[in-house]
Subunit: 174 residues, 2 copies
């Protein structure tokens, strides 16, 4: 099962950091690709892709102009994370059984047809918090914690876990 993440309604000024962190979390917790919608932001996509290159693995993010087309043509299930949806603990097993997933994460105002386009509207608590938290906890539950053991091949740097302090291995490019 491959998981891709679509971020709706990005605004360059206001959302730069939140959207960057969202895609980094998508990558770290096992998604394979990200799509940015809303305002174009090549600084953001370049910066996520460059970081992904340094830290390894194949995650990449690109801008999509027509996100509805992406959603309609996606070969798999559509999951929309929203505080109004069905609790994740009641549906994540079913969602994780089988086909690839496109996970939609809303911005400030989510167009109402997203709820219709989604196969699953899923809530990660019914409390207000953060799309980054929602996505990370969703992916962690979807992959049942196994994403914490993911390897990111061809990394130029790698952290070696330590009780105290920092240890980073750096590899020169070949």
């Amino acid at each position: 099962m491959l998981v891709k993440v679509l971020r709706l309604g990005h605004r360059v000024g206001r959302d730069k950091r939140a959207t960057t962190h969202l895609f980094l979390a998508a990558r770290a917790f096992g998604a394979v690709e990200g799509f940015l919608s809303g305002e174009t932001d090549s600084n953001l996509t370049n910066s996520v892709n460059s970081l992904s290159n340094s830290w390894g693995g194949d995650f990449k993010v690109s801008y999509v102009k027509n996100w509805r087309k992406l959603v309609r043509e996606f070969n798999g299930k559509i999951v929309h994370l929203t505080m109004y949806g069905i609790p994740v603990q009641n549906c994540v097993k079913k969602i994780g059984a089988g086909s690839d997933l496109l996970v939609i994460v809303g911005g400030a105002k989510v167009p109402s047809d997203v709820y219709e386009l989604a196969d699953y509207n899923v809530s990660i608590t019914t409390q207000p918090h953060s799309e980054i938290a929602a996505l990370s906890v969703f992916l962690d539950k979807l992959f049942d914690g196994k994403e914490l053991l993911l390897k990111f091949p061809n990394a130029q740097k790698k952290i070696v876990p330590k009780k105290n302090g920092k240890k980073v291995l750096k590899y020169s490019e070949k």
Copy 2:
């Protein structure tokens, strides 16, 4: 076991949204109190406290001038979330057994003595992502998913989970 969250190195201009979302995630995933360190930001603390009031429960956040004093005098264990630490899956059971926790979440530059002051330096993956993701996944693992069932008493509004669309109950203040 009560869990409190200390955010270090807040910068008013740059971190407003990230820090707000961090505290909202702390609340949603079961922490009982937040402490803001770095630059003072009464807009932020007021806004989190006001939201917490509307959505119920007792979570509150306040500014601390001397975070080292808070850490030293905390009656419980200190957990520092850092990508350089011990993998969460290897230590969360031990951390969750017993005393109250103060979870430290770093900002842009974490003073090096934080690593020493902490009883546990804990990583949520060794990849770069987001302090909001790290905190949420940590709390979810600490509470073993049970925080998803938390009730927030005296809420002025409540979401009723729906397959499709939105349902919010509003209660007038008494």
